[in-house]
C-alpha cells in the first residue's frame, strides 16, 4: 500500500510540475506506439497478511501514455482494525491537490479567506508602493 502511495505521488508530481511549466501535454511528446502499457482502467484485488489475518483490498488504476492519471482503492477488509487502516488509506493516499478554474465549475458560491474591501486593498497597494520606492 505504501508503494502504491509513493508511486502515485511520483507520477502525479511529474504531471503537476509539467502543468505548472506550461509544457505541452504528454500526448504530444510520447509516441503512442511506444507505450509500455496499454491505456485504460485496470482493476484487481490484492491480498496481504495482517496481524488480524488475511485481508484484501481492491485497486483500480487508469493509465494514459504510461502515466497514472487516476487511481482508486476499494476497502475489502474484514477485521475492524484492518477496515480502519484501509479506510484511512483510501481517504488519504491521493496526495497533492491541483486547482481547477472556477469558471469551469458549476458552482453557486466560492468559499475561502474573507474578501477584502476596497479600503483594505488600497492600503495594501499604498504600502507596496512605499516599499518599492524605498528599495530604489
Amino acid at each position: 500500500m505504501l508503494e502504491l502511495a509513493l508511486y502515485w505521488q511520483t507520477k502525479k508530481q511529474i504531471s503537476v510540475s509539467q502543468n505548472n511549466q506550461n509544457l505541452p501535454p504528454v500526448d504530444n511528446i510520447i509516441n503512442k506506439n511506444t507505450n509500455k502499457y496499454k491505456n485504460g482502467t485496470f482493476s484487481d484485488t490484492g491480498s496481504y497478511s495482517s496481524p488480524a489475518g488475511e485481508e484484501q483490498i481492491g485497486v483500480s488504476i487508469t493509465l494514459n501514455n504510461d502515466t497514472i492519471v487516476d487511481a482508486s482503492v476499494e476497502p475489502k477488509a474484514v477485521s475492524p482494525t484492518s477496515k480502519f487502516f484501509q479506510n484511512q488509506f483510501a481517504l488519504n493516499f491521493k496526495d497533492r491537490v491541483v486547482g481547477k478554474n472556477i469558471v469551469d465549475l458549476e458552482v453557486s458560491k466560492v468559499s475561502g479567506s474573507s474578501l477584502t474591501p476596497k479600503g483594505f486593498n488600497k492600503a495594501l497597494e499604498k504600502i507596496k508602493k512605499q516599499a518599492n520606492a524605498t528599495n530604489l
Binding site: 496526495d95 481547477k100 458552482v107 468559499s111 475561502g112 479567506s113 474573507s114 483594505f120
Partner: protein, 288 residues
Amino acid sequence: MQLTFEAIGTIWTIDIFKSQRKLKKRVVLSKILKRIKTFDKNFSRFTKNSLVSQIALKTGSYKFPKEAKSLFRIYFKLYKITNGLFTPLVGNLLKQLGYDSKYSFVKKPINPVVPWQPAIKYNHPILTVKKPVLLDFGAAGKGCLVDIIAEELKKINVTNVCIDAGGDILYNNNLGQELKIALEDPNDTKKAIGIIKLLNQSLCGSAGNRRKWEDFHHIINPKTLKSPREILATWVIAKNALIADALATALFLVPAKKLIPHFKFEYLILDHNRRVKKSKNFNAEIFY
C-alpha cells in the same frame, strides 16, 4: 431577492428564496445594516468609540449585549483548549504588527499577548476589565454575526436563505436543495481545489492569502509571534457559523484532534505541501 453590501470589512451577499410574505428589499436591507451597526459598535476594534476601543483605554465594568454570551463562551473554551493560542486578547499584537484600525501596516514595538484571567473576566453580560486591552473578535465575530442575521431573518419568516459573508456561508433550505460551493485555491483565487455541497449548515473558510503584509497574515500565533506557514487554508462545516468560523481559525493554531472531543464539526485542511487532511464526513470532491 439578493442583497449585496459591504460590512465588517468584507462583502456580503444574501439570497432570500421564496419568502412567506411580501418583503421590500429596502426594508430588509435597512434592518440588516442596522443590526450590523449595533454589532460593530460593541465588538469592532475598527469602529470609532466602540465598546472594544473603550476597553482598550480604561479598566472598569462594561455591559455587553445578548450575543456576547455565546461569543465569549466559545472564545474562553478555545482559549483553554489551545492553551492560550486562540485568544481575543491578540488585538494589541495585531495592531503592533501593523494590522490596526487604519490599516497602516506599519510595525511598532511588540508586547507579549496578555493572558486572559489577569486582564478580563466575563460574567454575562458584564465584562470586568482589570487591565486595558485591545480585544479582537476577528476569529469568530463574522460567524457570530452571520448567525445573528439568520435569526433576524427568521423573525420576519425568512428561513430559506443563503448568507454569504465574504466566503463564510450559512445556507438553509427546507426544500432540500444542496448548494455547490467551490473551495477557493489560496494560491490562485481564480481556481478551486474542490467542491463541497452544503445544506442546512454553515461553511467557513480561512486562509492567509488576502490579508497579508510583510511576513504576516491576519492570523498570528501569540506564542511564536508569527503567522502559521504550514497551513495554507482551512474549512469547517458546523451547524452554527459561530462555531465554523472559530474552528476554521483554531485549526491554524492547533491540530484537529485537539478540537474534535469538544465540538461537532467537519473540516478540511490544506497544508503548505498542497496535501489535504480532512474529516471523514467532509464530503467534498477534491481535485488531484
